[in-house]
């Protein structure tokens, strides 16, 4: 009896832990509303269009991680994400934005002249 309760408790806890993380990952959606190249930085305006809150923890510009202030967005919220980067005019940049759960939005953006 004790062994059965212990075994099933472990099974239930494991199922809950695994599916809870999966639940949040499945519910994550965000979009890039705008990208603005300003002196020494790239500002990216994000909107959370998913069903859970999210946290942006990494941005890769041309596959290289860049420094940023992590941004947390609740459901339906939006805001600027500032990435420190000395960009060059008239260049195309591959920008990859990654959340703490691993969801990413990737696209190419051209800097102004």
């Amino acid at each position: 009896m004790v062994i059965a309760v212990a075994a099933m408790s472990i099974a239930i806890t494991a199922t809950y832990v695994i599916t809870d993380n999966l639940h949040d990952t499945m519910g994550e959606r965000f979009i890039v509303e705008d990208v603005w190249f300003t002196t020494g930085k790239i500002s990216i305006y994000l909107r959370n269009v998913g069903k859970v809150s999210l946290k942006i923890v990494a941005v890769y510009v041309d596959h290289t991680p860049r420094s940023l202030t992590p941004l947390r967005l609740e459901e339906n919220k939006h805001g600027w994400l500032n990435v420190t980067y000395s960009w060059s005019p008239n260049s195309v940049y591959h920008i990859n934005i990654v959340t703490i759960r691993g969801t990413k939005v990737v696209d190419y953006y051209e800097s102004p002249s």
Partner: protein
């Protein structure tokens, strides 16, 4: 006789524990499956949405700007963001406009003035679609 009864009860208890636990595990997994269905529905709705900006012009009777949006999709669109972008500024405005399917509406904003140089107007829907227009 007493020993046998005790063993029988223990066997029944084990079965109850296992069955209850399996019910809980199935409930947790079912929750995930339903959540997946809900998220698929969300993605499907996003794909079905089709909003376009058909006209942007400076107001003639009032100061400001009028925007004409057309919903060519099958679902009602909720417009939540409006951007006016030019070479020097990216200005965002909060909006709250609903456009029914197959409907065209004109949205007037007295506090928005279009730049004199080349500009881009962007409108963002709640589902995450973006319509763009240049002027």
């Amino acid at each position: 006789m007493n020993l046998r009864l005790k063993q029988d009860r223990r066997g029944v208890s084990n079965i109850i524990v296992v069955v209850l636990s399996l019910v809980i595990v199935v409930a947790i997994i079912a929750n995930i499956v339903l959540w997946g269905y809900e998220m698929n529905q969300l993605d499907w709705e996003k794909m079905k949405e089709d909003i376009i900006i058909t006209n942007v012009e400076r107001g003639t009777e009032i100061n400001g700007t009028s925007f004409t949006f057309k919903n060519e999709g099958a679902l009602t669109s909720h417009l939540v963001s409006l951007w006016i972008i030019n070479s020097t500024n990216h200005q965002r405005y909060d909006i709250n406009v609903f456009v029914n399917s197959a409907e065209t509406i004109t949205y007037l904003r007295a506090d928005i003035s279009l730049p004199d140089d080349q500009y881009t107007v962007k409108v963002v829907t709640e589902r995450g679609n973006i319509a763009v227009c240049s002027g």
